[in-house]
């Protein structure tokens, strides 16, 4: 009898351990799946994500409408045996201006900055302007593009290899009310800058007359990457 009982006990022990093991493996694998990141967010964080995604999806739908119109016009021209130079030029102008290859004009905001602001804070400001929907940005007469980074030390910042001395102006094209609202909201970037850089003065003002921001001086044609479909 004794060996039989011991066998049963050991069998039960192994079974219980195996069951716990299996459960943990399932939990671990479940934790690795894609949706788990969202599961770890608070309701407030999820609401922010949903708001942001809704806004972006609206932008994407508007872009699709624009592209569909453009495609329809091209198809009509093609069926008529013609190619619209106007349309291609318009497309070219739009993309070149958006990318920073051409100057761009529009209303927006002007931000005067004086004091010992550091490069990271200027970079934060550029990031906030992009997030607020700025269509183009410049620091003094240097167009800010994807590759633009701000370096140097307070008082003599380096933007695209050009020296920016105190004070300087950042201009951004976009809906002035939206840009000003985003920059100056409670807890926004201006408030943060004031808190972390108390000696820095930042003056934001809407510009309702068209400003012209210059083209980038950079060559944006890649030397190491080639286009693929």
């Amino acid at each position: 009898m004794k060996p039989g009982l011991r066998d049963l006990r050991s069998l039960l022990t192994v079974t219980v351990v195996a069951a716990i093991l299996g459960l943990l493996i399932v939990v671990q694998l479940h934790g690795q799946t894609g949706g788990s990141e969202l599961q770890s967010k608070s309701a407030q964080e999820l609401t922010s994500i949903i708001t942001s995604e809704n806004t972006e999806n609206d932008r994407l739908r508007a872009e699709i409408t624009t592209l569909q119109d453009q495609l329809a016009r091209l198809q009509t021209d093609r069926s008529n045996g013609a190619t619209s130079v106007d349309q291609i030029e318009s497309e070219l102008g739009r993309i070149r201006a958006w990318a920073g290859l051409d100057p761009i004009a529009g209303r927006g905001v002007e931000i005067m900055i004086s004091g010992d602001i550091n490069a990271a804070a200027v970079d934060d400001l550029l990031n906030e302007l992009r997030n607020a929907g700025a269509e183009a940005i410049s620091i003094e007469d240097i167009r800010v593009i994807a590759m633009t980074s701000v370096g140097g030390v307070p008082g003599s910042l380096d933007v695209e290899g050009f020296l920016i001395r105190d004070p300087f102006t950042v201009r951004a094209i976009g809906r002035p009310e939206t840009l000003v609202g985003s920059l100056t909201r409670v807890g926004g970037i201006i408030a943060q800058l004031s808190a972390t850089n108390p000696t820095v003065l930042v003056d934001v003002k809407p510009v309702n007359q068209p400003m012209i921001l210059p083209a980038s001086k950079r060559d944006l044609v890649p030397a190491h990457g080639r286009p693929t479909l």
């Binding site: 192994v14 995604e53 030029e89 993309i95």
Partner: protein, 266 residues
């Protein structure tokens, strides 16, 4: 030795099995606890609809982006078909393709590197700041800036192409790139010269970044130098709503004088 071998052989097989199972159990419990560490988990029921909504919106966003890329390709195909019809159109199409490449609207393939940033697995000290132990938007922006300074020509984070309009922001413990929610680990693909990583690691900023983020907070920083890297096209909006182009004095000026419909038939 013979005695030891005999003793080992004398151990019942169920004890060996149990020992191995307990070892695996211990490993899994440790892994589970480590995974739970930095990221707080919430269990309230009211979040379920929010999670479902966010997931549905992400899927919608991915579908919309796929449609945009497809429509842009269709437009490009039609424009290219008219390329041989007239010198003006051909020139315009060449310039248009160059502009699209410069803008990040075309997928690129070339030499480069892949970097990976992950949350720390270190426990947060009692007086520590939890966000310091998470890979976030500031880390990504730092790495992106250093890559540009090192000669990168095209960059994408988890499939989101970095363009002139790209903002990288934290929302709670999440990161939004091009307003798309992305989750860690973050993979940064960069096209550039063959020695891109050597250039990157030679910058004082990279040394400082690794020292502080990995050394002080345990942020996972790893990299690879594959033979080639692919960086996807930007699939977001390039519509100018508040602005308009101011053409540069380039050869287009001559072409613009020929604006209108040009016959493409035989």
């Amino acid at each position: 030795m013979t005695t030891l071998g005999a003793r080992i052989r004398a151990i019942p097989s169920w004890q060996v099995t149990l020992g191995l199972a307990l070892l695996a159990l211990g490993f899994l419990i440790a892994a589970q606890l480590a995974a739970e560490g930095p990221r707080v988990r919430y269990t309230t029921q009211e979040r379920s609809p929010l999670v479902e909504t966010a997931l549905a919106l992400q899927q919608t966003q991915a579908d919309l982006k796929t449609r945009i890329v497809g429509l842009r390709q269709q437009i490009q195909d039609i424009e290219q078909q008219g390329a041989g019809s007239a010198a003006v159109v051909k020139d315009l199409n060449t310039r248009l393709e160059q502009a699209r490449i410069a803008a990040g609207l075309i997928r690129l393939h070339g030499t480069g590197i892949v970097l990976k940033l992950e949350d720390s697995t270190q426990p947060v000290p009692p007086n520590g700041n939890e966000s310091d132990y998470l890979a976030g938007a500031t880390d990504l922006r730092t790495v992106v800036a250093l890559l540009w300074q090192s000669g990168a020509e095209a960059i994408a984070i988890n499939g989101e192409r970095i363009t002139t309009s790209t903002a990288i922001i934290d929302i709670g413990g999440s990161v939004l790139v091009n307003a798309a929610y992305i989750a860690g680990p973050y993979q940064i693909f960069a096209i550039g010269p063959k020695d891109l990583f050597a250039r990157l690691s030679a910058t004082p900023g990279w040394e400082e970044f690794v020292r502080i983020r990995r050394g002080s907070f345990g942020i996972g920083i790893s990299w690879a130098e594959p033979d080639a890297v692919d960086v996807p096209a930007f699939a977001g909006s390039v519509t100018l709503r508040e602005s308009k182009s101011v053409p540069s004095p380039t050869p287009t000026a001559a072409a613009s004088g020929a604006a209108g419909a040009v016959g493409s038939g035989p």
